[in-house]
Symmetry: D2
Subunit: 428 residues, 4 copies
């Protein structure tokens, strides 16, 4: 047993560090996807790619074609499988299916695989740098543990494949692109890939809430969210010679921005709003004809997000009228609020006990957003059960901080919990 | 001559101090009007009142009926002539006509008669208080010299009447209500009372630009202006319990206000904007459902006022949309830009020299607004000539300051200049 | 029993309607106080007034001397007892003490007695108007039920006095002024009037949460709050002639106001802010030299109020610097957060059951502020137990709405619950 | 004569088109400077470079060392003279001196040589593209005619050199860097290079005010200006999880920005303000910890710029306090107001007539800024005479527009007027 644990951990660490060295942001996970797909294929899984798993109408926040081309080339240079790339329709993410052909439930597991736009510190105090597996993609970094998720998925797939003959039913392994910015899940859900799932599981590692490894059976408190890109378009004019002939896009944006923060709180629950980025103007003495802002809204419920979005649109519209400028609002990401199925809590708690996980929590407030909620809601709507769990482990810095790193033991438990679930639900 | 001058000055001072003690603001000059009308009538002038001289469609900023009633009662208590009041249709202002019945030009003189909402200081350093002729109407005060204008008009009328036999043509004496807030002239002009005038004169006293008495032949640089009352109407709500159910009229107003000051300057000329008054809300813990603001716009030209007004309306509209509130904009005063007739300058300069006025200026920037511009423009449009002049004299404090007072010698020169003009233009 | 109940109700209704007809706002309850004091005195209670019960250093939001004088005169005209008024030191509120002289606990009951600045509708659909007991003080109205509280206190005092011989210990009846705006409790607490209390009770009627009479044993969720009056002082200037010489107090206030609403939410709990009133400027064409605003802050905890207050002060300071104006912030009211003593819940529930109150709730979120929290915290700090309860009853409109009215049956239960408590705690 | 004119024009066009193809922005004119210096040297002029002509303490808006290095390398690749580059101390600009060694006045001519950050359109309708001499430096373009000024200076230098024997006195040819952004003149003036000049001339081509070539003898109405870079520094925080822990630099900047536009107009003259660029934040869900803005102020007089700057600093300081952020303001450019010497007008008018320039204007409002004002003021302070003139010619689009182009005949007149001046002032 200990031997097998060591094996599992070693394999997972290898995968994880490889993904960590070649991080790819959302909708650009070409190398990551091709590697996962190739391994799954070698393990005997049926592979679905590209338009087979993505409904293009629901893609959010996709980079432009030039960027995609550049990233595909880089992926090839860094060992991506060209045959697989050809089948991907320039879309990332992969689904692997293990069908026992014996009657039984369908169980889906989801792993997100994308990285963040952060510059990894080349600092000996930062473990990935000290041990040489730091990011080779300057300005891109796995700082949320999705490298762990991908690695867990692959090792789980390997051990699961070995169990095939003992099992009934069907397992669906979903490697989801573009969770950061909550851009990817919806397009997969809308393709119907979990419509037949009786069970859905997904686990996030990290959080550092305890000094041990911990297990949260059911995460709750997922904030619904929407991510908006707003462009204000005015008219430039020489600011000294013809100030009255300009239409000042930056004034419209600034005025909207302040008033967005002043949207009244809603007594039905917590809300959040932030304009994280604003870029406007080109020249000191020209009235800015363009202002671009990236913002996000969060709320405890979908209704609260709708309330905030409605106010936001009104404020942007009104401020644009004040300055006689035009505007465009594009939704580039969204997650809904959802809550895991209570019925699956005992299964997770049992797994925790069985595996001697030191700290076990029935439930825990996630206080963030994750587009896994689209999967959860869809499975529940179709009559299945779905749950979001967490493996707590010590971390070096908060998630999304460029010093983020986690205790790799979490990888082991990620694989083991998933294996436990499969055995419980699908053993003949 | 000296004797006559002393007489004129004494009479003018008496009238002026009486008007100063009983100041009345725009459209409420019931006592003032009735006294002037009675004296003119006694002097043999034909008297026109109420709807004969006011086109009600063009009245701006008129107080409500209750206030009017209260002021009529007060006027009666303070000696207003009830017979005359009956003929006034609750409208103030009076026109006196001296028609020689001999062929000759028609010459109009205009005197404004209203006071300001200011509290006169009961301070021995303030001459009107020291000598006992301070305002008996608390919160109302002649602080712009219109008491002087009315007094000049009456003494001029008296001496003019004595000259009647030596004259040809016709003289129209216009005692205009509601110049403050530029609310009264337009309604008189639109009634047509200067449509037949060949000449139009009006003089403003004060300014203190020199230590002597001075004469400005032609004032120029009259700012066009519009005065707006804006009401924002939202929805109240308990600010702690239901913050999201309110529609905050005060936020809409505050946001509009700041952005009004940010309207870009116009390279075609100077503009001004001010929100002088804002009142909103009733209760500390209730979201304000109403905000009321009084504002004004000025510009070197009528076009510039139109530019500012257009921006103002857009800003108020946009800010109201931002906060989902309604609004109403009412124009309560306006003056246009106009320039006096160059041809009349020599006549004024001649008068100044003849009367030994120490400081004489050909022209002078008024840098303010006066609705006399409506008269000037109409007379010029009809082919006549019109001019606005100033009698400069030492003042105790700036116009519209509650310590305003002026050297009463200015009264004498006001009467004399007008008499000089009449003699020059209408002597047979 | 039924007869006694009818008697109690009738007496309470009479008092309540009398107080309703002569409502008095905070620190001006001269008639109300004198009537209560006189009756308590006649019932044999020891009476404490003025500086005996108020620590003047902690008074908040007290009207000026002129207003106080005017209200005393009105109170006398409307039947206030002049002897009692003399003992009041121009301060309102009264404490009545029933001391059995037998060893036993000290029990305090608190009743707030002030009204609101609201105009009561003279509308036949409004019961107080229909039945003739509407407010005789134009612009002042009991719209929160403090007339009920005062009436309950008086009838309770009467029946309590009859029980004196059966009781041990001491009862303190506190009739508190100026609860609206949370201005009065702190000054009483700081005088030490509950320092010896073993128990403290206070009940608020109304809320309309059910169609029946209901009882909430323990209200919780009291928002801490602070009420601020802010004055911005700039410099006036003619807005067209010398715009650059003014210091615009209204711009400073407007700019502060918008940014106050934009204070970020605090993840430690809910916060609220509101500027309910803004008055600025006198004249349309003058840059406003003064702006006055009334605002309030609330928070789930005292810390959250401190956070908001700190941000508020920084914003007002910064905005004043932006416009080179001065400012003054005065705290005119405050309440802290406090939670009732769990140990008293069973007593209240028992009372509810005993009295057959249809709807009984263990606890209920008050979601508002009440300065009774100062009493509660002080009693608990001194080792006593304190609780805040509610009697729910149907209401015609929300509290603080001028159509507010309540089912007078609540008066009966108010008296009975208090009597029940006394009997339980003080029966020999 | 016609032949010579054709020669002059041809030479000037060649130079101009070369400079147009290799435009360099302020303080980076390494190729331009080295070419000019080499030619002047070949023509026999004494050459001053680098610290000989630049007082480094007064340099504004200089790019960083890396950019300078890159541009030097590019200049070398594009034909810059390495020997000359070595003498330049990494500073651009060159002064050429022709000293006749015969007693006579010293006459300075100034030519500015830098380009703008604009992308030249590769559009056949744009003449420089159509004829192949469009910018080879992507994103940099001569769109204000300084390529013309440099070309005029060189051809003038050539013909002037031929006249040397006929002349007395001394000629100083100043090729000034970094006029755009008004960054270069002050550092030359503070080095003293015009301290001995008896006369100073500078001509700007373009403006398109007429369909012919025109001459403005004396340009006036130079706006004083200052260019500021402002950085706000706050603290980032996760906007959903810890909104209250951030210090929002973008809110501080936005709030400052709006209020900057609301600075009151000054009755002493026209003012302008503009924030042309704002960049803030990195991530949608993070409170921005940095905001950077580029702004400029202009005013009819130096005092008005001081007024605006004072207000600007106060607003930025106050807004930073409101949001508890730090800030830094750096002056990156400035020009003063100055007026040409009336005494030189007849000389220019004479030149215009002599050369048969179709449209001649005595004076013309420049309504912009040019740091030639530093030269003009210094020369006048030292007792000399200085004037700024314009050669009007048809243009394809306004100055600073990327479709800007001008009628190259203006080059001819630029050379001829300068020659005329020299002949008049320095002929023995």
């Amino acid at each position: 047993m200990v031997n097998q644990y060591n094996q599992i951990l070693e394999k997972a660490i290898n995968y994880r560090r490889d993904f960590h060295m070649y991080p790819e942001t959302g909708w650009l996970e070409f190398r990551t996807t091709s590697i996962i797909a190739k391994i799954l294929s070698q393990l005997g899984y049926e592979i679905l790619l590209g338009k087979e798993i993505i409904n293009e109408n629901y893609i959010m926040g996709k980079p432009n074609e030039i960027v995609i081309k550049e990233n595909i080339i880089r992926a090839i240079n860094e060992g991506a499988d060209e045959e697989i790339l050809k089948k991907m329709d320039n879309l990332t993410g992969v689904v692997g299916i293990l069908d026992t052909k014996k009657e039984g439930p369908t169980v889906a597991f989801r792993f997100d695989i994308d990285a963040l736009e952060l510059e990894e510190p080349e600092d000996p105090n930062h473990k990935p740098y000290k041990y040489g597996y730091f990011s080779r993609h300057k300005g891109v970094m796995h700082a949320c543990g999705h490298d762990a998720h991908a690695a867990i998925g692959l090792v789980f797939a390997e051990y699961l494949a070995k169990l095939k003959d003992e099992l009934k039913g069907k397992v669906i392994l979903i490697f989801q692109p573009a969770e950061e910015g909550v851009r990817g899940a919806k397009a997969m859900v809308e393709k119907g890939i979990v419509d037949d799932a009786d069970y859905f599981f997904t686990i996030h590692i990290g959080f550092g809430s305890t000094n041990n490894i911990g297990l949260v059976a059911k995460s709750k408190g997922f904030f619904a969210t929407t991510k908006l890109d707003v462009t204000f378009k005015g008219k430039s004019s020489h600011a000294a010679a013809y100030p009255h002939l300009g239409k000042n896009a930056l004034l419209a944006a600034s005025n909207a921005l302040i008033n967005l923060y002043a949207i009244p709180p809603n007594s039905e629950g917590q809300t959040r709003i932030n304009v994280g980025v604003l870029h406007a103007g080109n020249s000191r003495n020209i009235i800015p004809d363009k202002a671009f802002m990236q913002m996000e809204i969060r709320g405890e419920t979908d209704n609260l997000v709708a309330y905030m979005k409605n106010c936001t649109e009104r404020i942007i519209d009104g401020s644009s009228r004040m300055y006689d400028v035009k505007y465009e609002i594009i939704e580039v990401g969204s997650a809904i609020s959802a809550e895991g199925s209570e019925e699956l809590v005992p299964l997770l708690l049992e797994a925790g006990k069985e595996l001697d996980i030191p700290d076990i929590f029935i439930e825990y407030n996630f206080n963030g957003s994750d587009d896994a909620t689209y999967f959860i809601k869809r499975v529940q709507e179709k009559g299945g059960k779905a749950i979001y769990s967490q493996i707590l482990c010590p971390i070096a810095a908060p998630h999304h901080n460029n010093y983020f790193d986690f205790d790799e033991k979490a990888l082991l438990y990620g694989v083991l919990i998933n294996l436990y679930i499969v055995k419980k639900l699908l053993t003949k």
